[in-house]
């Protein structure tokens, strides 16, 4: 594996993880909002 392939592999890995984290954050914010509404925020 050459240097450029390794750069692309790492960028892809990080993008994939960032996408999952953002999706998890959206879901978390949704549930936080529901919980806050439930306790008359």
């Amino acid at each position: 594996m050459n240097h450029e392939d390794e750069v692309v592999r790492r960028q892809r890995d990080r993008s994939r993880i960032m996408a999952w984290l953002l999706a998890a954050f959206v879901v978390l914010l949704f549930f936080i909002t529901i919980a806050k509404i439930g306790i008359n925020w």
């Binding site: 594996m1 050459n2 240097h3 390794e6 790492r10 960028q11 936080i32 919980a35 439930g38």
Partner: protein
């Protein structure tokens, strides 16, 4: 994976495993655990998702501290065998990435804590991160042998933050939990620093065994274990916990003090002959886990 030729590893985008390593996951586990116990010991519990988010924020805040600590101490870490393989000294990541990651993670954890729990908990989280980075890492650690004594306050915040995240208020019990970790930190770290003394000396970090000598450090470990034990037991006679916690605290703290005695009488200066110090260090980690577990068990059985 086939072998690869990488002329300058730091020129590559950081691998996600190295970003994870930057957060010091093992240290984070103790922080998360004590924060969770602080939350679970509170008289009222928030909805599960808010409690989960509060603990997540404590974990992220601890991760930010780890990243910023490694960013600042990259040169020192390179001189110590124990830390030389971390992402920055090993050249697997550039310093700016670590700085951006740490600042971003810290800011995110505080804002999320404010939105999910309350702004008092967020403020305490911000204070603990800033205290760890500026007061401990940048100011005290390279300058004084008392670095661990004062800097230990940063690691003592999580149970207080957990409690405040649940209740929105500061109360006597979480302040005592803060004091327990504050007084536990010096004997815990000094036991470690005794058998990795040469590492600290090589890096020029003025840890107590380097500056004041091995025997003096052993005396200090014993001296500090006494108020630690007293504060650990205190919530019981003060009526803040029940007998389950009280008896566990008595037994665990007595064992802690007993384990400092062979340390006190040990005259060895080579790490290979420091079995009592290694035993005390291992027990100190167990002690904190067991003490906080007893607190939660006591609280939930009393319900």
């Amino acid at each position: 994976m086939p072998a690869m030729e990488i002329p300058n590893a730091a020129a590559l985008p950081a691998d996600w495993r190295d970003l994870l390593a930057l957060t010091k996951p093992r240290v984070m586990s103790l922080v998360v655990f004590t924060g969770l116990c602080g939350l679970l010991a509170a008289p009222e519990l928030p909805p599960a998702v808010l409690g989960f988010t509060a603990i997540l924020c404590i974990a992220l805040g601890a991760g930010a501290c780890g990243a910023l600590n490694q960013w600042y101490e990259a040169d020192l870490d390179a001189k110590m065998r124990r830390t030389a393989k971390r992402p920055l000294p090993a050249g697997r990541m550039d310093r700016q990435t670590a700085l951006h990651f740490g600042v971003g993670l810290g800011a995110f954890s505080v804002i999320l804590m404010g939105l999910a729990a309350n702004w008092l908990a967020a403020g305490l989280l911000a204070v603990s991160i800033l205290f760890y980075v500026f007061v401990y890492t940048i100011w005290l650690k390279p300058r004084t042998a008392q670095n661990i004594v004062i800097g230990g306050a940063a690691g003592a915040f999580p149970p207080l933050i957990g409690w405040v995240a649940a209740t929105g208020q500061i109360a006597p019990l979480p302040l005592l939990l803060f004091a327990i970790i504050f007084l536990w930190t010096p004997p815990h770290f000094w036991a470690l620093s005794l058998f990795v003394r040469s590492d600290y000396a090589a890096a020029g970090i003025p840890m107590l065994p380097v500056v004041a000598g091995v025997q003096n450090t052993r005396r200090q470990i014993f001296i500090y274990s006494l108020p630690m034990a007293a504060v650990a037991v205190a919530p019981w006679p003060l009526g803040l916990t029940g007998p389950i916690y009280g008896l566990a605290a008595c037994a665990l703290s007595a064992a802690f003090v007993v384990l400092t005695l062979p340390v006190l009488s040990n005259r060895a200066s080579e790490p290979s002959r420091m079995a009592p110090e290694k035993r005390l260090f291992a027990y100190s980690v167990f002690y904190l886990f067991a003490l906080f577990t007893a607190l939660v068990v006591d609280r939930w059985i009393a319900l």
